[in-house]
């Protein structure tokens, strides 16, 4: 099982409830805006603790309210590409990319610069990046942190088709060659159909 | 070289005490370390166990306070200097007033105020209030006062012409070029102004007693007199 999720949570006045198991490969979370997709990624990443439930990724239990297990976010080794970027504004692009660097990174620094096309941005401050440039740096930062699984929240929105294609290829390679579990949020039907092995509707 | 004794002295004695310390040092003694602040602050420091040698207060009350706390070496308290109280006016608007019973001080003030130190807390103010009361004019100025936290701030107000009259010590008036003495209060109009000195029980410096005696000796007294202090 890649993901075994059992989540009961209330955010504001909206209840979020999910029971899902997904096998190897890429699992797409599908649902309308506001359905709770980002909230679920946050819970799997360990940023938000569900009110109740259990979260198991690749056989490891990251959270279990009944057993009082809650692995800290810093030890979950999720490669989380946030919907809202969250580059560190006080570090240049290079420092952002290297922030979580980990020996186990599936791709080398150079390879990542290359396929994301961000080699020329290394000395820039995040505030000077265009929308798509910032998004690519965010993806690079997550991949360089040596993740055991990926949480991708609309990672390809605001990228041009050529770039999209390249990054999709890399994502496919990671799930195939590295057997990396991936939880993927997107509204693009074509994208989901191409990439997803499982779909969890919300 | 041995350190000189630490002397805590009232701020108003700064120049005179410095001159005395220089003279003492010229006799091949270590120069005393002089520390000036308000007598109240110094007394509190002594009470909190400060390791000092001599205390010179501008105020008998604070010396009494320290004595009651048992922090004075028995038999070392003595009156070191005296002073006179004067009425001053700005040099730019000089004024002479015969200081006597019922003097027209309120009229002389006009719409201005009488600057003096706070009679509840500062010694110069205490003497000033007593003197004005003895002359029967306190009530005529009681609501026309500008009270300072020390003699110096009173002096500034008169120097700047913000107050037409002020009550300060003769020593202060003498040191300032911007005020003139309008009159001197009769010694009988207030309790004698005395600056007591004493050695503290915390004193360890072997030269402390020597310097104390020097201050009370004729050469020491002559130095103080140069700055306008009278014999106690």
């Amino acid at each position: 099982m890649s993901f075994d999720l059992e989540i009961d949570h209330r955010i504001g006045d909206r209840p979020i409830r999910l029971r899902a198991q997904a096998g190897a490969g890429l699992t797409a979370l599908l649902g309308p805006s506001g359905a709770g997709k980002t909230s679920i990624l946050n819970m799997v990443a360990g940023i938000v603790a569900p009110d109740r439930g259990r979260i198991t990724v690749a056989g490891e239990t990251l959270f279990d309210s009944s057993a009082a297990i809650n692995v800290p976010a810093s030890q979950r080794r999720a490669g989380y590409v946030f919907q809202d970027g969250r580059l560190f504004p006080h570090m240049r692009v290079r420092a952002n990319l290297l922030y979580g660097r980990h020996g186990d990174a599936p791709l080398s620094f150079e390879a990542i610069l290359d396929f994301l096309g961000i080699g020329h941005l290394l000395d820039r401050w995040p505030a000077t990046l265009s929308g798509g440039e910032a998004q690519r740096v965010t993806i690079g930062r997550a991949l360089l942190s040596g993740p055991r699984f990926l949480l991708l929240d609309e990672p390809l929105s605001s990228l041009d088709p050529a770039r999209r294609e390249e990054i999709s290829t890399v994502i496919e390679r990671m799930k195939r060659d590295l057997a990396m579990p991936i939880l993927y949020v997107s509204h693009d039907r074509a994208e989901v159909e191409r990439l997803a092995d499982h779909i969890i509707p919300l | 070289q041995q350190r000189g004794p630490l002397v805590l002295a009232a701020a108003s004695m700064q120049e005179a005490m410095n001159a005395a310390a220089d003279a003492w040092a010229a006799q091949r003694h270590a120069r005393p370390v002089l520390s000036f602040a308000a007598s109240s602050a110094l007394a509190r420091q002594i009470r909190s166990g400060a390791p000092a040698d001599l205390f010179v207060s501008a105020d008998e009350d604070w010396m009494d306070d320290v004595e009651r706390a048992g922090l004075l070496q028995r038999g070392t308290r003595a009156d070191m200097a005296g002073n006179r109280l004067v009425l001053v006016a700005p040099a730019r608007a000089p004024l002479r007033l015969r200081i006597a019973r019922g003097m027209p001080i309120a009229r002389a003030l006009g719409d201005s105020r009488l600057a003096m130190a706070n009679p509840d807390s500062v010694p110069a103010g205490k003497y000033g209030k007593a003197a004005l009361a003895a002359l029967g004019v306190w009530h005529s100025v009681a609501n026309r006062l500008a009270l300072g936290d020390n003699v110096r701030s009173t002096l500034t107000l008169v120097e700047r012409g913000e107050a037409r009259l002020g009550i300060v010590y003769a020593t202060d008036a003498r040191a300032s070029r911007d005020v003139v003495v309008a009159g001197t209060f009769p010694a009988a109009s207030h309790a004698p102004i005395r600056y007591p000195i004493a050695r503290l029980t915390a004193s360890r410096n072997p030269e402390a007693e020597g310097f104390r005696r020097f201050l009370l000796s004729r050469p020491g007294q002559n130095i103080l007199a140069r700055y306008g202090f009278s014999r106690p």
């Binding site: 940023i47 976010a73 810093s74 946030f82 504004p89 | 108003s12 520390s35």
Partner: protein
């Protein structure tokens, strides 16, 4: 402006006192700011009030309280003397302590303001990248709070350079130990006609803090880099 040797030593002492005061207070103030910005606990308001205390009561009262607590007979004074061999009375260490306490509220407020402005989502992002709390704090929170830390340092340093009331009440005016710039200024102010000396010393104070100002602006600019805007 050429300084006399005495003025030089006063400047050096003032710098020593202020730098030690601000340096020692920096981590304390940051910890307090962090606590007040990030935690909710019973008695938080009390801590907040205590932090502001040195601002609210006149400096002489703070000095008096320091005397009661850290004087030779005070509970904390004894503790420091016995545990660390540090004594405060009439020592520059006492002047630094007084300055640090007086600077505290300004430093805490400025830092707190910046800490409250930190975007928590960036700290979360750092966590997901494997940073444990210590690293998140050092690499994200602390640098993001830098503008407040710098502002706190400038305010604290300026306040230290100007601190007078608490210092003289606590540790008096001892040349070479506690006679910092403002105390020297005060002494000079007590002497009629010493306005030139006062002005010289005041100008030195201003130049010192101008230097601090320039240094902080330069630091802020260097650290600021591209931070003027958050992105995406």
């Amino acid at each position: 402006m050429i300084l006399s040797p005495e003025e030089w030593s006063i400047v050096a002492l003032s710098l020593q006192v202020s730098l030690v005061a601000v340096g020692l207070m920096l981590p304390v103030a940051f910890a307090l700011a962090w606590l007040l910005a990030r935690s909710r606990f019973p008695g938080k308001l009390l801590v907040d009030a205590l932090v502001h205390l040195p601002l609210v009561v006149p400096p002489v009262v703070t000095g008096w309280l320091l005397l009661l607590l850290f004087g030779a007979n005070g509970p904390l004074g004894r503790l420091f003397e016995q545990a660390l061999g540090v004594s405060f009375m009439f020592r520059w260490t006492g002047a630094a302590l007084a300055s640090a306490i007086m600077a505290m509220p300004l430093m805490v407020r400025a830092m707190r303001l910046s800490i409250e402005g930190i975007d928590r989502r960036l700290e979360q992002a750092a966590q997901t990248l494997g940073a444990e709390p210590r690293r998140v704090f050092l690499t994200i929170s602390l640098p993001l709070a830098l503008p407040g830390i710098l502002a706190g340092l400038v305010l604290g340093f300026a306040r230290s350079i100007g601190e007078f009331g608490a210092t003289i009440t606590f540790v008096s005016d001892v040349p070479g130990e506690t006679r910092t710039l403002p105390i020297a200024i005060y002494s000079a102010l007590q002497m009629p006609g010493a306005e030139t000396a006062v002005t010289r010393l005041a100008v030195i104070s201003i130049l010192l803090s101008l230097a601090a100002l320039v240094a902080s602006e330069a630091l802020a600019r260097r650290a600021g880099g591209g931070r003027t805007n958050h992105v995406l």
